[in-house]
Symmetry: none
Subunit: 138 residues, 2 copies
DNA sequence: CCATAATTCCCCACTTTTCCCCACTGGTAA
DNA sequence: TTACCAGTGGGGAAAAGTGGGGAATTATGG
């Protein structure tokens, strides 16, 4: 659990920072995530994703809509000298993030959650962790 | 049975340590296990597992949920000069580990249990060891 | 185009946590 | 007994995380 100060700043935990490619040069793109969380992509990962988005067709209404939703709130930001990111107000509102965040590293990106929202998300699943694992992991 | 000190440190028994690949360089990833135990993976084993996770689709809600649950508490940690690992507070809480742990080597990883929880787990299986063997090993 | 307001960014300072080091105990083997 | 290794405990330095002041930049309104 990490603090968000009044300026909307969040420390990226050292534990996660060490997995971020130096290529990213401490730059990240924050955008709207799924289940009301925020996605934080190191820029190198973001660029790969952007390539995939370019392969969508802006002539397909569905694709168009998705691209807009995904990029609407996207915002690049640089770590400050204390390894913090500033989360834009609109994104904080989207994710209902006030003074605390839960931070989860998920392979290609980092997720930021309102802790309460995350707990609700977890408890909204009736299936146990164990049986989910048995199914998902083959 | 091994001690956990106030700083959350646990000695990895020499008996188990000798089976860990030198490739792991004394680095381990601890995460949430099944039946409220903790999994401790030598990094080389963890990397294999991570590959499998990367093959899941983060656009599938089920997969996404599993990835989050699995990685939420995951934390890399290095053996100290006395061959101990520090277990993060949140993981200790998850597994109800206080001052003592039962440590079980299970082929690809090591499990840490609250001793009492482990006893309860054992006695929760009515089937005998022998008939279980007959069924599982065929 | 200027003046003012608002926001962003940079810097410094403090607190908390983590990690490194040293020391001790008890058991086992020489 | 002595030497050694495994396991345990704790103090202190270093790193990580947190908070806020103020300059620089950008936006807003006249």
């Amino acid at each position: 659990m990490y603090a968000v100060d009044d300026k909307g700043r969040v420390s990226l935990p050292a534990k996660l920072r060490k997995y971020v490619s130096p290529e990213a040069n401490d730059a990240f793109v924050i955008t709207r995530g799924f289940e009301k969380c925020l996605f934080v992509y190191p820029v190198d990962e973001w660029n790969k994703l952007e390539e995939n988005l370019r392969n969508l067709s802006s002539y397909d209404p569905e694709h168009r809509r998705f691209i807009r939703a995904f990029l609407e709130l996207a915002s690049e930001s640089q770590l400050d000298a204390q390894a913090r990111l500033t989360i834009p107000q609109e994104l904080r509102e989207y994710a209902s993030i006030q003074n605390e965040v839960r931070i989860i590293g998920t392979l290609d990106k980092i997720e930021l959650w309102n802790p309460k929202v995350y707990e609700e998300y977890k408890s909204s699943e009736p299936e146990s962790y164990e049986s989910m694992a048995a199914r998902v992991m083959r």
